[in-house]
């Protein structure tokens, strides 16, 4: 028995979204079961059925959650002071003839 992760696409062009997982004795039956759980009510136009073993799992906090402050790398990292200066600059620009 192997665990398979199932992704479904709701309509053409939509992203593949993780739906859940299932247990199956082989890839073919996994496809049938995936269809049964995530496609039988016509809620999907495509399914991806992936053996969990084929997924590289990365959850190392040293890589993903570094302890030093890296807030400057975030797009929302402007301080209140900078936001205020930016707003003032915009206003000045608009007031120019």
């Amino acid at each position: 028995m192997e665990i398979y992760e199932v992704f479904r696409q709701e309509r053409e062009g939509a992203p593949m979204q993780h739906s859940g997982n299932l247990l199956a004795p082989d890839p073919e039956l996994a496809s049938h079961y995936a269809r049964e759980f995530y496609g039988r009510r016509q809620e999907s136009v495509r399914l991806w059925i992936v053996p969990r073993a084929a997924i590289r799992d990365l959850d190392d906090p040293d890589l993903l959650q570094p302890p030093l402050d890296r807030s400057f790398k975030k797009p929302v990292g402007y301080s209140a002071d900078i936001k205020r200066k930016l707003a003032a600059a915009r206003t000045r620009l608009q007031e120019q003839p």
Partner: protein
Amino acid sequence: MSAPAPASATATAAAGALDEATRRALADLLLAMADDEFVIGFWDSEWTGIAPLLEEDVAFSSLAQDEIGHAQALYQLLAELDGGDPDGIAFGRGPQEYRHARLLDHPRTDWAFSIARRFLYDTADAARLDQLAASSYAPLAGLVAKMRREETYHLLHSAAWVERLALGGHEPRRRLEEALERLWPDALCVLAPLEGSERLVEAGVLAEPPHGAEQRWLGSLAPLMERLELPFPFRRAGQRLEPTITRPASPRGEHSASFEWLWGEFTSVQRSDPEASW
């Protein structure tokens, strides 16, 4: 389906165009097909809750439900052709009045047996649906086109399990072989000609004679059965595959005690109050 749905205009027109003998033969065909789907649906629904794994439980129950859905559509077509209402036809007969093939007289038995029966039935039914897709009776051709799309999945599912059991080691293989040996003669009953089959061929309701469907069925099974070295009791006679087993004399009658028990189960609610409106 509490009240009979009104017959569609196209079905009424199509039925009106048939002569009496053809209409009679078509009604027999629809009843045989509907009863086949209805009875295998009930047998296989017995696996709900006890299938070998949860995922398969859901899948097998869903297949059983599909078959009962096909039966419902066929009973509806029969009611449009012949009068009566689908519920009355489905539940209102005595056990010996059902016209399903002998293949469906066996009880559920073990998993290998249910898979072997499903496989033989699904593949034979596919050959039957193929010959009806081009039927001159438009309401049936239309329904068959929809049924075939669902049966595609049924075929893949049962073939996957046959292969799995055949290659799964001593015990599963032994059980599968025993089931196939026991079921083969009765499997031939699914496509056995009905009394009015010739009439239906002449009228174009059946696009080919029944032995044509049987040969296509056996021909499609032969490669898999040979590859897996599973029981396949036929020999080649020129282009044809001839059975080396005896065909049962009564393909769709003299139902077993097992079926009478199943009938008692599936009619129990309806019989508790036949006049009730659900």
